[in-house]
């Protein structure tokens, strides 16, 4: 019998010297993931330029693009650095990472340190002098890493409800802190991450059922029972934003305005779009926040159905690679991290695009890699870096 491909590969690997080999590193990267990510950020920059170049209150048409570009460079540097680090070594720092995350989130809530949109009384950032850090963005990633470590270590305990509850509470504390900012969207992202990771971890079905039941009860409690008792869990504007998508015509010039205009923008793009830089809804300012949360509306208007499908396709590739990395990872830790990142991206993409096309509530979740905002961009690129690290250190060998 002739030597199999696998045997030949093993032979090649045996010749590898110990220590860092650039060639081996590059060979073991997930290039499809990297290319898809690069395509997404490029797409994002192009759309950001279209959305903002005609703004009258900026000094140069490239104002936003330049700012986002700086984020891109920093994010890519992080991506490459992280991909070199062996993720497995991070696991032991889980408690410090978790504590650091809580510290960040608490600091954000402290007046004079945290800052944000004063008009709605929300604290979202910590001012780092050179830039503003949107702490909840970073917290997502840090929590994925630390929660994955906790879960991976407790694999043997997965039949124990008490352990499951500990894990839920573990995530619930930072979730509550984010909710207090208030940043409902990110709090929901935390929840989505937890569910995905628990599923892959191997949570027992009854436990998952119980968790779903409790979540549902909590939602009903927050939205119906407590307000009826006079305790406002959500602020009025949050509730308004959450429910307006069901019937934007209820208030077409107020709360429903943005949604209505977004749908008009996307629908009027038709199959091929109005053409790059030619979106009327965007450039005549009918659509507010077209460079942040509603960037997809610009895609839909200017590039039409084709542009929208291309974008979803790119996201699908990234998510597919993430789940593939999760499946092929040789340890539970890598598997859980990859799942958490994949779940985070899927949830954000679905909720954000769903919002612009009127099937999901307005929660203020940005579109990964596309929406304007350096924190989000850098953190998402770091996430891709982590995926690459898992690929390099745990998957690459198995696929050869």
């Amino acid at each position: 019998m002739a030597p199999s491909v696998k045997v030949l590969q093993n032979a090649r690997e045996r010749r590898q010297p110990l220590g860092f080999s650039l060639g081996a590193y590059l060979r073991s990267m997930d290039w499809i993931l990297l290319l898809a990510t690069l395509s997404l950020v490029t797409y994002g920059l192009l759309m950001l330029y279209s959305a903002t170049h005609a703004d009258t209150n900026i000094s140069t048409p490239f104002f936003y693009v330049r700012s986002q570009g700086i984020g891109l460079v920093i994010g890519f540097a992080f991506l490459m650095m992280i991909s070199v680090i062996n993720y497995k070594r991070v696991s032991r720092w889980r408690t410090y990472i978790y504590a650091f995350t809580l510290l960040l989130l608490v600091l954000t809530l402290v007046p004079h340190i945290g800052a944000g949109n004063s008009t709605v009384g929300a604290n979202r950032w910590i001012d780092l002098r050179v830039t503003r850090l949107q702490t909840s963005e970073l917290a997502k990633l840090l929590l994925i890493i630390s929660l994955a470590a906790v879960l991976a270590e407790g694999t043997a305990l997965r039949h124990r409800l008490r352990f499951v509850i500990i894990c839920v509470v573990y995530l619930l504390v930072p979730t509550a802190l984010v909710f207090l900012q208030p940043d409902l969207g990110t709090a929901l992202v935390f929840g989505a991450i937890l569910i995905c990771m628990l599923v892959v971890w191997g949570i027992r079905l009854p436990h998952l059922g119980a968790l779903a039941g409790v979540s549902l009860f909590a939602a009903v409690l927050a939205l119906r029972i407590l307000p009826a008792l006079g305790i406002q869990v959500l602020k009025d504007y949050q509730l308004q934003r959450l429910t307006i998508f069901l019937d934007p015509e209820r208030d077409p010039t107020g709360a429903g305005y943005q949604l209505t205009q977004s749908k008009i923008a996307i629908g009027s793009g038709m199959f091929t779009g109005k053409g790059y830089l030619d979106g009327t809804q965007t450039h005549l300012n009918f659509l507010p926040e077209h460079h942040t949360d509603f960037i997809f509306a610009v895609v839909g208007e200017e590039l039409g159905f084709m542009g929208g499908i291309l974008l979803i396709g790119l996201f699908a590739v990234v998510v597919w690679r993430a789940f593939r990395i999760a499946r092929l990872s040789d340890d539970m830790y890598g598997r859980l991290i990859a799942t958490g990142i994949a779940g985070m991206l899927v949830f954000e993409v679905f909720v954000n695009i769903g919002m612009t096309i009127g099937i999901m509530p307005v929660t203020g979740i940005p579109l990964p890699f596309m929406s304007f905002g350096s924190s989000s961009l850098v953190v998402n690129l770091m996430a891709i870096g982590i995926l690459e690290s898992i690929h390099v250190h745990s998957v690459a060998g198995q696929t050869r």
Binding site: T253, I266, F286, A316, F323, D330
Partner: protein
């Protein structure tokens, strides 16, 4: 930082369902992305057209560019009606404050605007409700608004007056003020009633159209085609660029058969005539002059009149009340075509024609006049109490002998069939003249037995009696004629028997002055009466202005021979109406004129001088003041 050797065996921590678990998440992912894709397909491909339209409505504003209305000239090219630039203020509801979202600002806006424009807040609210039906279109609430200070104030307070639009418009201007008011008519905003009419079926609510007079009759020529601009605006309503620009087509110009000099003379003469009889209670009257050879109206005046510019920008309701009050003597109403009068003695030439044509009398037939006529146990008085003696037809017309015509009436009564009625109807009495003006009255009447049968209440009343025919023979009783009918009938006598359709429209020229249409004179019919008969009547009418005639005094020293007839019509309980009709030159008529002064008294002393003044103006034989004759 060092790449570790890769472990190849699966971790023991895993359960065997790991691939399935990740597979479930992957499937969920693709289902979610699939939902988005289908939703996009639905929005962008299946219902994209709807959204395209909404997006267009969002950004495209259509601005109407009003077409200037055609100018109206007299037959000599003098401008009677022209345009001037004006400013309109209107509401654009979609840019205004929302009454639900910003009730305070909205109320402040409406109240503020009402104050500035001098309107009622409730009036403005009603306009807003109407405007709201088409929120992307400006709804004009006030025309002809002063630039200073009103428009300037609105523009300065743009925050308060959000969505309040100021538009350029054309407004009618009348260089001579209250002149030819009734025949010109006026323009105004289309009412629902107007829009229901075939003539205006292409117009939209809010359009400006002719409401009366030639403005209405020739509206389709005078009204141009509005142009429009489509402008792209941003979310704040600021115009960004012009997308389309269709220039308006100006309306065509209308030339009338009126001569403004003659019109002025007619109006002046009418006023003078009324002033003459003011002591008698005269307050209204009409004069109309026509070319008997083709039906062209040369002048037509109705008094009292008013300044048509009152209608510009909408007449104030106070003013309208003033004009319609009884003590104003109904200036809105055109007595030439709407005034119904007893013809009185001016009817005699027509009665004579009918009697001659029927063979009831000959020119030689004489009757003895002793100042009254007795028959059927009744007495009819002659205006001349001492009587005219034995008179033939010519004398009877010239001296306006009533007794002669009482006899004629009695003879006509004994004929079989309505000989008198048929005879005078040939002249057009009892029917509309068909003049090119809207609103000619249909109330004119030549009474006969059928009419009596219809209106009579008692059996006695329903009978057509000899007295009715005798009264009709001198133009009294239940006869009702309009000045326009009289001038058309008079012209038929003058021109040898042709009944013309009177008309004011003469030419249509385009904006650069090219003749694009000429209105032809239209014949309504021929009298079918021999010229011999007409000649006799004409001779009698010439006698009216000759020595011994009733209008001799009024036309004394007038260089051109005038054939005419005086009339003093009874219209109880009012004072007598003064009438005169005449044409000149008597042998080759060029102009026929009818004048009526309500409660003017004697035709010979009040109405005849008015006609003389008109003829003087026509033949340029002016005298310095109106001649007041002393005899009837």
């Amino acid at each position: 930082m060092i790449l570790e050797p890769i472990r190849k065996k699966r971790s023991t921590e895993d359960d065997s369902f790991i691939g399935m678990r990740i597979g479930v998440l992957l499937i969920v992912t693709f289902v979610l992305f699939g939902v988005i894709a289908f939703r996009l397909w639905y929005m962008q491909v299946l219902s994209g057209d709807t959204y395209v339209k909404v997006a267009k409505d969002n950004r495209i504003r259509e601005v109407k560019v009003e077409a200037p209305r055609g100018v109206i000239y007299d037959r000599n090219g003098k401008i009677l009606v022209e345009n001037r630039a004006g400013l309109d203020v209107g509401l654009l509801p979609m840019d205004m404050y929302d009454p639900k979202k910003a009730p305070e600002q909205f109320t402040a806006e409406i109240d503020g605007l009402a104050k500035v424009l001098n309107l009622d807040s409730s009036e403005l609210m009603a306009a807003y409700t109407k405007a709201k039906k088409d929120p992307y279109v400006t709804y004009v609430v006030k025309e002809d608004v002063a630039e200073n200070p009103t428009v300037a104030y609105i523009k300065e307070h743009s925050e308060l007056f959000k969505g309040i639009q100021v538009e350029n418009s054309y407004l009618r201007q009348y260089p001579f003020g209250a002149f030819a008011t009734h025949l010109l008519g006026y323009v105004g905003e289309a009412s629902q009633n107007d829009l229901d009419q075939e003539q205006f079926s292409t117009l939209t609510p809010g359009a400006t159209l002719g409401k009366d007079g030639v403005e209405r009759k020739y509206d389709s020529f005078l009204r141009g085609t509005d142009g429009y601009k489509t402008v792209e605006v941003d979310a704040a309503g600021r115009p960004k660029r012009v997308v389309e620009d269709f220039a308006p087509t100006p309306g065509s110009n209308l030339w009338l058969t009126i001569s403004s000099d003659l019109q002025q003379a007619a109006e002046n003469a009418l006023v003078e005539g009324i002033q003459l009889a003011q002591a008698n209670g005269a307050a209204g009257g009409a004069v109309v002059a026509m070319d008997p050879n083709n039906g062209e109206i040369l002048a037509m005046a109705s008094f009292p009149d008013y300044d048509p510019s009152l209608w510009v920008g909408g007449m104030a309701s106070v003013k309208y009340k003033e004009l319609t009050a009884p003590q104003a003597h109904f200036p809105l109403y055109d007595r030439v075509i709407d005034g119904l009068y007893p013809a009185g003695s001016t009817f005699k030439p027509f009665v004579a024609t009918a009697a001659l044509a029927a063979g009831v009398i000959t020119p030689e037939t004489t009757f003895d006049c002793k100042g009254s006529y007795k028959a059927y146990f009744q007495t009819w008085k002659d205006w001349e109490a001492k009587g005219h003696g034995t008179v033939n037809l010519l004398q009877a017309i010239a001296e306006s002998c009533d007794v002669y015509f009482y006899n004629v009436g009695n003879l006509l009564y004994s004929q079989s069939g309505p000989v008198l009625q048929d005879g005078v109807r040939k002249f057009g009495f009892g029917q509309t003249t068909g003049i090119d003006l809207p609103g000619e009255t249909t109330g004119s009447r030549v009474p006969d037995k059928y009419w009596k049968l219809e209106v009579g209440k008692t059996a006695e009343d329903k009978k057509w009696k000899p007295g009715d025919e005798i009264n009709l023979a001198i133009g009294q009783g239940d006869l009702l004629v309009t000045p326009m009918q009289m001038v058309v009938a008079l012209s038929a006598i003058a021109n040898g028997g042709t009944l013309w359709v009177p008309h004011l429209g003469w030419l249509i020229t385009d904006a650069s002055g090219n003749r694009i249409h000429q209105f032809e004179s239209e014949k309504r019919g021929e009298l079918g009466i021999s010229l011999d008969i007409l000649d006799i009547v004409r001779q009698g009418m010439l006698g009216v202005t000759s020595e011994g005639g009733t209008a001799y005094g009024a036309f004394k020293n007038f260089p051109i021979a005038v054939a005419g007839k005086t009339g003093t019509a009874q219209k109880l309980p009012e004072k007598d109406y003064a009438l005169f009709m005449g044409y000149a030159p008597a042998d080759k008529p060029e102009i026929a004129v009818v004048a009526i002064i309500e409660q003017g008294g004697h035709g010979s002393s009040v109405a005849a001088p008015v006609v003389r003044r008109v003829l003087e103006a026509y033949f340029h034989t002016g005298s310095s003041s109106i001649i007041i004759p002393t005899t009837e």
